[in-house]
């Protein structure tokens, strides 16, 4: 441990506080008497889909385009999830096969 116990506790407390602040803020602003207006309601309808798009990019952010050993397994695995899920619509199957494909590719092939 680099820090002493009090300092470590303070850091943990602050990370926890940042989680609480970011997750509770919209609820604190738009609940109870101050109901969310039409615009916030509209955002609430659109953001679920935009957020999943953001999350997909977030997961793939480290992909290096010039590095085949890095990008090829990732792309093949993502594509197999997309195709399988479009076709069979079985979430666990898509994720299971996609992950297995990825693990085989990075551990055995590349």
């Amino acid at each position: 441990m680099t820090l002493n116990a009090t300092q470590a506790l303070a850091i943990i407390g602050l990370v926890a506080l940042s989680t609480v602040l970011t997750r509770f803020l919209p609820f604190a602003l738009f609940s109870g008497k101050r109901k969310a207006g039409k615009y916030v309601h509209y955002l609430g309808k659109m953001l679920p889909y935009a957020s999943i798009g953001l999350l997909v990019v977030y997961c793939l952010r480290g992909v290096e385009f010039g590095n085949a050993a890095n990008i090829v397994p990732e792309m093949i695995a993502v594509l197999s999830v997309v195709i399988l899920h479009y076709w069979k619509e079985n979430a666990l199957l898509s994720m299971g096969v996609g992950t297995a494909v990825y693990m085989v590719l990075i551990n055995v092939v590349f």
Binding site: I12, G13, S18, R23, Y49, L55, S94, M95
Partner: protein, 239 residues
């Protein structure tokens, strides 16, 4: 546990299986990493229990291993956690009437829990409140248990599970494809992906999230009319 709760738990569990795999693995890795920096299971579990935010916890390892700088640590976690604001705005309606559980449901709204609760309709014979509660609780438990195992046994057990964390990417991709199948969802989904890619290229992988969020809000706001019309039309067809 009474019957209705058991039933809710049974209906909920299958939805969390990918998170079970991903969180045990990543939580384990987190526990091991903390242990290697001199922070045993007690510390890492404390963090996983109360901060419950994977990326921020990984980022905070830096703060725990350099000179004490609380302000820096706090600002960095706020930046890493900023995307959660989007999740809460998305759940404002669904979580409005959750009674005593509301606080915990909001606290537990991590990436993975959000992706499931925002995209899955609770089964008809299960109270929505219980469905959301068990998704949140199970995911939270997986993360804490994974962390504890890593902190306790990490240096003893060595497994070759490299790449298992891809299961979480697969979870988000699966949900994305599921949403894409409904035409009216494609506008916002496309905006989310494109804005993120543009900002990733402009700002780099460590600081693209906040610009991407701002750009997403801006474009969604600019396109309020056409997007609302498409949604409305889709609703009419459903009726």
């Amino acid at each position: 546990m009474d019957e209705s709760k058991k039933k809710a738990l049974k209906a909920t569990f299958p939805h969390t299986i990918p998170v079970l795999a991903g969180f045990l693995f990543l939580g384990f890795a987190y526990g091991v990493l903390m242990k290697s920096k001199g922070y045993g299971a007690g510390w890492s579990v404390l963090m996983s229990l109360f901060a419950f935010a994977g990326s921020a916890q990984y980022a905070a390892i830096i703060a725990l291993t350099t000179v004490f700088n609380p302000i820096n640590a706090f600002v960095l976690s706020l930046i890493v956690n900023a995307r959660h604001v989007f999740y809460s705005i998305s759940m404002l309606d669904k979580y409005r009437e959750m009674g005593k559980m509301k606080g915990y449901l909001i606290f537990g709204l991590c990436d993975e829990t959000f992706s499931i609760v925002s995209s899955t309709k609770p089964p008809k014979d299960v109270e929505p409140k219980m469905f959301y509660f068990f998704i949140t609780l199970l995911d939270h438990c997986y993360w804490v248990v994974g962390t504890a195992l890593g902190g306790l046994f990490g240096l003893v057990i060595s497994m070759n599970l490299k790449g298992l964390d891809f299961v979480l990417t697969a979870l988000f991709v699966t949900i994305f494809v599921g949403q894409w199948k409904i035409r009216s969802n494609r506008g916002p989904a496309m905006i989310g992906v494109l804005c993120s890619i543009v900002c990733l290229m402009l700002f780099g992988e460590s600081r693209f999230i906040i610009p991407a969020m701002i750009l997403i809000i801006a474009i969604i706001t600019l396109l309020q009319k056409p997007l609302s019309v498409t949604k409305q039309a889709a609703k009419e067809v459903e009726k």
